[in-house]
């Protein structure tokens, strides 16, 4: 079982960058009015603007958080960027962000290509680098600004966000506990088929075809097998959260907040019900920001606690799940944690 416990690590702060431009959700199923559709998917509006890449949004969020924390940029020695919409096929985006943020060249910088589970994976990677104290301050930048996707076929679900998590070495801190899983047999449950090395870009990549859901796509548009993702999520997520809580003796009824990847309303409500979390103990951002992929967990924390500091200690159970298929659960405490005001970029 893939359990990891990383001590001497604390999360010092969160920030979120989104485009200022807001797009209201419209029904793309003639059987439903806009209102019915919104009620069912759970996304009323989202922030989308193709002027910005994920790394742009992360950049502005990072500048805000570094200022709010009062961190000296010279002390930041690790930067991990998690995204499936990186600036270029090559090079990696993390070194670009290291330079743009004015961080020292003495900086570990690397990309991780995961989606909905990416924040939890990225957090474990960064915390692993820092757990023995060689690196004292690090940044985790996550998100998927799905350029080339939404404007072309009125995607009802996905919003753009770049979120930043500041991680700090702190001797004696209880740290973070993780559980991870992967199932690559479901690799095509959410997929952009062309443009990578397996199916390289050719002129036929741009040919438009109609998928079984009746939506027209080319092979650079992402396709999702909704039923498969749904049944994967409602069965796997409760199991992963229960496995972590059993392994480390965490009483879920005493956990202050649960933060799930913002997949869609139905999936999240079912998981919440299965794990017996009341609405008051669940942080969300789906309604106003949509599904923001790897950014959805920090986005929900920032959106629910805007401009506040978690001074008193609060416990969190979080789970990212989806494309891969891939999932990760993390349990941690926040204390004296800085939450920046949402940065709206225009």
């Amino acid at each position: 079982m893939a359990f990891i416990e990383l001590k001497n690590i604390r999360i010092a702060g969160f920030s979120a960058g989104v485009p200022k431009k807001v797009i209201k959700t419209k029904s793309r199923n003639p059987k439903y009015t806009d209102e019915e559709f919104v009620k069912s998917v759970g996304v009323e509006e989202k922030h989308i603007d193709d002027k910005f890449t994920t790394s742009d949004l992360c950049y502005f969020a990072a500048e805000q958080l570094i200022t709010d924390l009062g961190w000296d940029k010279k002390e930041i020695e690790a930067l991990i960027f998690v995204s499936q919409f990186r600036d270029y096929i090559l090079p990696a985006t993390a070194p670009i962000l290291q330079d743009r943020l004015g961080l020292s060249k003495e900086c570990y910088a690397s990309d991780i290509a995961l989606g909905c589970s990416g924040w939890v994976y990225g957090l474990s990677s960064l915390a692993s680098l820092m757990t023995n104290g060689n690196i004292k301050k690090g940044l985790l930048l996550v998100g998927d600004a799905r350029r080339l996707q939404d404007s072309s076929f009125n995607d009802p679900l996905f919003g753009y966000a770049g979120c930043v998590t500041a991680v700090e070495f702190k001797e004696g801190d209880e740290g973070i506990k993780f559980h991870f899983g992967s199932d690559g047999s479901g690799y095509d449950a959410i997929i952009i088929p062309d443009g990578g090395a397996r199916n390289q870009f050719t002129l036929s990549t741009l040919d438009v075809h109609e998928d079984e859901d009746g939506i027209k796509r080319n092979r650079l548009n992402s396709f999702m097998k909704g039923l498969d993702v749904f049944s994967f999520a409602i069965s796997t997520v409760p199991k992963s959260i229960k496995a972590l809580s059993q392994k480390y003796g965490i009483d879920l009824s005493n956990v202050d907040y649960m933060v799930l990847h913002q997949a869609n309303l139905k999936i999240n409500q079912l998981i919440q019900k299965k794990l017996k979390f009341e609405d008051s103990r669940v942080l969300n951002s789906l309604n106003k920001y949509g599904n923001t992929s790897s950014a959805s967990i920090p986005m929900s924390i920032v959106a629910s606690t805007n401009n506040e500091t978690y001074k008193a200690e609060k416990s969190f159970i979080t789970c990212g799940f989806g494309v891969g298929l891939s999932w990760g659960t993390a349990y941690f405490q926040l204390k004296d944690c800085v939450i920046s005001q949402i940065v709206e970029v225009e």
Partner: protein, 75 residues
């Protein structure tokens, strides 16, 4: 597991279609109200009531309510 009970729970996922329209032989994909969102509700209902997680392919392979009942029963 009882087929009558299953048909009733299946019918509850629909809002507009009259309950009298549902029998074990009903080809549910041909109902006007059938949609991918109702398919999700069916998967959720089966998960909650019978503790069985239907996979996408299993859902797609069923044409009648009886087909789906048999899949759930045999899992």
């Amino acid at each position: 597991m009882d087929i009558k009970d299953f048909v009733e729970k299946f019918a509850e996922q629909f809002e507009e279609t009259d309950a009298s329209m549902f029998t074990p032989e009903t080809k549910f994909r041909e109902l006007d109200e059938w949609s991918s969102l109702i398919a999700l509700s069916i998967i959720a209902m089966v998960d909650e009531e019978y503790d069985v997680t239907l996979k996408g392919d299993e859902m797609r392979s069923a044409n009648t309510i009886q087909d789906l009942f048999d899949i759930v029963k045999n899992k």
